[in-house]
Symmetry: C2
Subunit: 226 residues, 2 copies
DNA sequence: GATACACTTTGATACACACCATCGAAACGG
DNA sequence: CCGTTTCGATGGTGTGTATCAAAGTGTATC
C-alpha cells in the first residue's frame, strides 16, 4: 500500500531524537506550539523556514484562479512541509489540530554547510515527498471515487489508526470538504462513498469523525461495491 | 501560467554551462547519448544516477496494480529526472525523442560533500519538481478535459514552441495515448478536445503531431468551448 | 430550552467523460 | 503491389460523479 499523504520519515528515527538532539549549530531548529487555525505560511510568502510536524495536523492548500481549492496534503507527525520553490512558499499551510512543529532554517536544507545530519534528513524528506506525490497522481487521475475514499481511509488507518477490540479506529479531524478537496471529489460524493462502505459493513461510524474499520481486506479492494 | 510538466531549471543558466564546466570532482557527471525506446531506468531499479536532459524528450511512467498507466511527466531539456525514493527509482523512464542526458551520481545530490554547485543545482531541481507536481495536482483534480488539454498545449508551447508567421508552432512528439495518460483522460477525449479546439479556430493541425496556436487568448480560457 | 449556524447526509437530475465500435490514413513488411 | 499493424479521429451509448436541493445532526449562543 503506497502512501498518498505527505510522507512520513523513517519511523525508526523518532522525531524526538532530532528535536532534542544536541544542537550543533546555533539557531538550527526550534520547537514551537501551534494552535488550530494558525497559518504557518501563505502562498507567496518568503520561505524562511521548513517545518517538521511533531504533533497535530497541518493542512496544505492551494487555490486555482477559478476559486476552487485543492488540498495538497495533510501533514501528520513526522512529515516535513514548506519546501520552497525559489524563495517563496507555493502553498498555504494552516493548523487543523493543535500540536508542535520543529522549524528549520531554509539554509539547513539548501546548504550542505550546516549540520549534515539535519541536511540529509530534510533532503530525504524532500525526496520522499516527490515519490509520495507521484503516488497521489495515480490516485487523482486513475481511481474511482469509492477507490479514492477507501485509499484515503487505508492511509489514515496506517498512519493514525489505533487498535480497539480487534478493529482499527481512525479519527478524521478534517472536514468532509477537506477530504473532498484532497481527493478531487465533491463533499457529496465523499459522503456517499462513506455511506456505501458503511452499508456494506466494511466500516462503521461512531460519529462523523470517527471510523471503525470492520473489514480491512474488503476495504483494500473497495472498487467492487454493491 | 504554471508549469505542469517537470520543471525546467533557471533558463538563464544554460545546461551546457554545467555539462561542459570544469569538473572539480572525478566522475561527478558524464554526458551521454540516448536513443528512442531506450530505458534509463525502471521502477524498482536501484538508483545510481540522476539525469538532466540536455536534448530530446523522456517519459516518466508508473503502472497501477490494475494495469492502468500514468505518465508522471515528460522531461524536456533542462529537466532533471530520477530522484530516488530511498535507494530505488519509483518510476520507469524511457526515451521518446533521442537526445543527450547528463548523468550525475546520486551522491552528488545526497551528499553535500562533493561539488557544491552541482549539489545545489540538483537540490533546487528537486524543490522545483515538488512545486511543479503540486501544480499538476490542481490540473488532474480540478480541471475539465478541455481545460486539461488546453493547459497542456500552453505548457508545451511555452517550453518547446517556435514562432512562425505570428503564430506559435508546437510539435507533440508523444502519442495521444501518452497525453491521455498524462492528463488522466482517455485517448478519445484528448482527440475530441483537440478537434473542438481546431473547429473553434483556436488551433490548427499541420499533422497529428504539429499544432499551430491561432488564438492564444482563447486557448487560455478554453473552458468555454462551443 | 429555544434559536441559529455549520456540517453531514440523502435525494433527484444532468451531463461530461469512459467505453465500445468503426473508419481512414500512414507506416511497414512480404 | 496488397495485407497487416498502428495511430488518430469520430459516432453512439451508458454511467459515475457533479450539481442542485433539502433534510438531518450536532454544537454554540443567548
Amino acid at each position: 500500500m503506497y502512501v498518498t499523504l505527505a510522507n512520513h520519515l523513517d519511523e525508526h528515527h523518532d522525531v524526538c531524537d532530532i528535536a532534542e538532539a544536541p544542537v550543533s549549530q546555533a539557531q538550527v531548529h526550534a520547537r514551537r506550539a501551534v494552535s488550530v487555525g494558525h497559518h504557518l505560511f501563505h502562498e507567496g510568502d518568503e520561505a524562511h523556514n521548513i517545518y517538521e510536524v511533531a504533533s497535530g495536523l497541518l493542512r496544505l492548500t492551494r487555490v486555482l484562479e477559478n476559486g476552487s481549492r485543492q488540498v495538497i496534503a495533510f501533514a501528520l507527525p513526522g512529515d516535513v512541509v514548506g519546501f520552497p520553490d525559489g524563495d517563496v512558499h507555493h502553498t498555504d499551510c494552516d493548523v487543523l489540530v493543535a500540536g508542535e512543529v520543529i522549524s528549520y532554517r531554509r539554509q539547513a536544507l539548501e546548504s550542505g554547510a550546516g549540520d549534515p545530519t539535519v541536511h540529509t534528513r530534510l533532503l530525504q524528506a524532500a525526496l520522499k515527498e516527490i515519490s509520495g506525490m507521484q503516488d497521489h497522481f495515480m490516485m487523482l487521475a486513475r481511481k474511482s471515487a469509492p477507490e479514492k475514499v477507501a485509499s484515503f481511509l487505508m492511509v489514515m488507518a496506517e498512519r493514525t489508526g489505533t487498535f480497539d477490540g480487534g478493529h482499527t479506529r481512525i479519527v478524521l479531524p478534517m472536514k468532509r470538504s477537506d477530504i473532498a478537496d484532497f481527493l478531487g471529489l465533491t463533499i457529496e460524493t465523499v459522503c456517499r462513498a462513506i455511506t456505501r462502505l458503511r452499508k456494506a459493513r466494511i466500516i462503521a461510524l461512531e460519529d462523523a469523525q470517527t471510523v471503525i474499520i470492520l473489514d480491512n481486506n474488503r476495504l483494500e479492494n473497495a472498487a467492487l461495491l454493491d
